[in-house]
Amino acid sequence: MRILLAVLAMVPAWAQAPAQNPPQAAAPAASTSSTQAASDAGGKTAGATAEESPVPSTEPWFTGNLDMGFRWLTGPQGSVATYRSIIDLDQGPRLFGLDFTIKDPKRRLFDRIDARGYAWGDPYNTAHVEAQKSSLYDFRFDYRNIWYFNSLPSFANPLAPNGIDEQSFDVRRHMLDASLDLRPGKRIIPYLDFSHSSEFGHGIATWLQDSTNEYAVPVLPRSGTNNYRGGVRFEYNKFHVTLEEGGTTFKDDEQASANYFNPGDRGSAFLGQNLALTNLQQIYGIRGDSTYTRGLLTATPTSWLSFSGQFMFSQPSIDVNYAELAAGNLAATVASSLLFYTSEIGLATGAAKQPHVSGNAGFELRPLKRLRIVESWMTDRYHDAAFGLFTQVFQPVGTSAPVTAANAMPNEQVVNFNQQQIDVMYDLTSKLTLRGGWRYVWGDATVLAGTLSQTGNFASGQLKRQIGLAGLTFRPIQKLSMNLDYEGSSSDNIYFRTSLNDYHKARGQVRYQATGSLSLQGNFTVLNNQNPSPDIRYDFQSRDTALALYWAPNGGKRVTFTGEYDRYTLRSDIGYRDLPFLTSVVSTYHENAHIASSSTDVALPGYAGMTPKLTFGGSLFVSSLSRPTRFYEPMGRLTLPVQKNISFYAEWQWYGFGEPFYLYEGFRTHAFITGVRITK
């Protein structure tokens, strides 16, 4: 808010900028003359600086835009929780956008600085700064602050006595990245990078021991990841090598605390006892770190051969400390016996280590002018070795002797993935290129088995898939291009019931520049995946057809129209076992969606050399069948320039959301914005 106020305070000064044109015009002249003076005095170096400068002397040293205003909402009417989960825009003053560029004609500390920030005051605000000086450094900074609110009743137990807000979160995600390249454009380029992402806020999660009852409790998510990396790039004309060393630190300090009577979701007595949680203290202390080594290589030893490869080794590890203290009238299964207890102390400790190796290599061979052969290979393998110990001490109801339970379990997950692919591209004519190829994917995995599994603690899976590839690119005339892709596969082994098995996937795209002002595009995608195994009977088919049109008659001087329409259908049927009686049933998910978006700009009759502009459009999403949904976002905007560099605007947007099966999740609201945009 303070930043916003500071920006607001700067606006009057900024708004006066156009009145300062004469001094601004003088400034570059002064700059030029000072450069000239330096040239006269300093001789060759200064002269070279003036000569090398690509910035014409009349170029302004500062350019930028400021876009700020105020938003009003008439609602939301309906479900505020759903509105916040999907839209989450509030009313109040906003800095919608700020961007500027500073150029130093003398190129002392920097050549140019580009900065921009958007949506300050809204739940997702960003800032980005780039500063560079030719051949010396290149600095980039990126910051994002995204509020993530999610509280949807359809994710909770609708019969929960404390309300249907379980598994809801109101957290902030902070992400920043800063990188510095030294000597950009030179042959040897050292670089450094730091990135950080974190999540904190509050939410409602569930505490439970087993299936006797579950209790919604408030939680405070607190986690963060830092990544440091540095390396050197060697860029030569015929090859490049990057050697990089990096490290990651991670922490998760989520907490839960509740000190009130909480009957849980059960809603009925359990073996004559009314279960309740009266006190809970829960804290996670997770610490992780990792180092990694990466090497990248590209090479073009001859004009007909290119090669590239990558190698990476990382070894992330995690240390776990966890404690919980629960009190109330509770029940759990301890050592295969049901135990009613009044309090419980639980302590968990554990560690995991996951050495991870991945590498890929490939080459592109051009033995003939019309022929290209691309071969690539990759492997990715890791081994997650872990050990966890969870010790609990229960104070049973009516006795004084505590009961101790310890659950110790080593665990591992081993995954080996490999892929080999060859593509051949042949220019049949100058207008037609044909492609064909083959991909072989194979691997194996050992993972923790399900509770009921008869294979012991671990289960093994295999992956073996052969995929044929084909495609063509056709450009009969300059204005028309067509691209078709097809892949079809037959799998011997797959990991999961819903994995791609025997599938056909095709994609097509046609682009046509009908006239100088009208262009059309069509996209088509179809995926058909089948697994006829008697236990699975998976039948999946999706089709997606999109049409896009861009129309700007007379060079877009008066009207510009952009429109897209998408028709999407999905049909998925798969057999599964319904609980508790393990009856064989079919899970059916069908979706039939119409999606459209458009934007029309109309230049209105002008005044005093200025042209007001009307913009209208928006988007709609209408789907039917398994989860019918309506989501509308129409908008209109009128921009009125009042000076060459200042324009006012007014905007209206409507947000409407509804679901026939979940009427209580619908919402609607108007949003009005008035603002000013100042350009320099």
Binding site: N150, K186, S197, Y236, N237, F239, Q310, H356, G461, R497
Partner: protein, 319 residues
């Protein structure tokens, strides 16, 4: 435990380094001049960018602000003072005849041919390590489809702001952009994210040209770091199939961008195998029968199995 020795990896690196040193002996000299497509063009010679300015004043001026203007002073690749001709080829014939036929026009070349011009300088850069795996390269999407070579300004060479990047990508990927009009989506239409936050348009060895971060983790974990692990009890689906096993990352009509409207179907479509699987069976054993799905208490699996991405405490993802 599978042996994963960094030392063997180091041996490969050393081997690669030895190859590189061998190649380096032939790389000290600047690249030979641009290959010409005809005998006539081979005879042409460089005239310098100042000569181009005489007729192409507007393009020349705009180019002064373009990052490629640096080629004008770049001794590294031997195009000093010949920035225009570094892409358009030697122009002496064109200067004499003033005919468009006597100069190379990359915009009118076949994409693969145009790309070769760009890649003479850019092939050997880290951004192009995954290029040969890129569907863009295989589908003849030329560099100039995204990069504007002559323009100036902060977005001259390529779109920089999230909104501009998204607009550029959606120019071809109309169906993908349509999926961002779903109610549950990542914040791309709002400009808080861009396509390149998750995808590397130059290519990646991960499927769908997904960006790789840190220890070659998929781009999802760059923001959702708490789901990266390693966990004491990882959920196999996350690592074996990726986030897309349960989520539609571009957007969905279903809450939390899930592939199904109700959580239990997301889970039970995989967790439906008998406890004694055949050797060729898939992973995912059926849950115990205590889960009475007729009761609303059990219909949202993640209400109890809340650490479904992986747990540090509970084998069943309860804590």
């Amino acid at each position: 435990m599978t042996r994963l020795l960094p030392t063997s990896g180091c041996r490969y690196i050393l081997l690669a380094a030895a190859v590189v040193v061998g190649l380096a002996t032939g790389s000290a000299q600047p690249q030979p001049t641009a290959p010409a497509s005809s005998t006539e063009k081979q005879a042409a010679t460089y005239v310098g960018s100042q000569q181009c300015q005489v007729c192409h004043e507007d393009i020349f001026k705009a180019f002064q602000q373009n990052p490629h203007h640096g080629v004008e002073t770049d001794k590294k690749r031997g195009f000093e003072n010949n920035a225009c001709e570094s892409c358009h080829g030697p122009a002496s014939k064109h200067v004499e005849s003033v005919s468009a036929a006597d100069i190379r026009q990359p915009a009118k070349l076949a994409p693969a041919e145009a790309d070769r011009i760009c890649l003479r300088c850019h092939q050997n850069q880290p951004t192009h390590v995954g290029r040969i795996n890129s569907s863009h390269a295989k589908n003849q999407v030329a560099c100039v489809a995204c990069h504007a070579i002559h323009k100036n300004g902060p977005q001259g060479l390529v779109a920089r702001t999230p909104a501009a990047i998204n607009q550029q990508c959606s120019g071809c990927h109309a169906a993908v952009w349509a999926s961002f009009q779903n109610p549950h989506r990542h914040r791309l239409p709002e400009g808080a994210m861009s396509c390149v936050d998750c995808h590397n348009p130059h290519g990646s060895f991960l499927p769908h040209m997904t960006q790789a971060f840190r220890g070659n983790e998929p781009g999802c974990f760059n923001c959702h770091g708490e789901k990266a692990g390693p966990f004491i009890y990882p959920h196999a689906a996350v690592n074996l199939e990726g986030c897309g096993a349960c989520h539609q990352p571009h957007g969905s009509a279903n809450p939390r961008m899930l592939t199904r409207p109700q959580v239990r179907f997301v889970c039970l479509e995989c967790h439906a195998n008998a406890p004694t699987p055949t050797p060729a069976a898939t992973l995912g054993t059926i849950p115990p029968a205590l889960h009475d799905l007729r009761s609303p208490r059990f219909q949202n699996c993640t209400l109890c199995h809340q650490q479904v991405h992986g747990s540090y405490i509970s084998r069943d993802f309860l804590k």
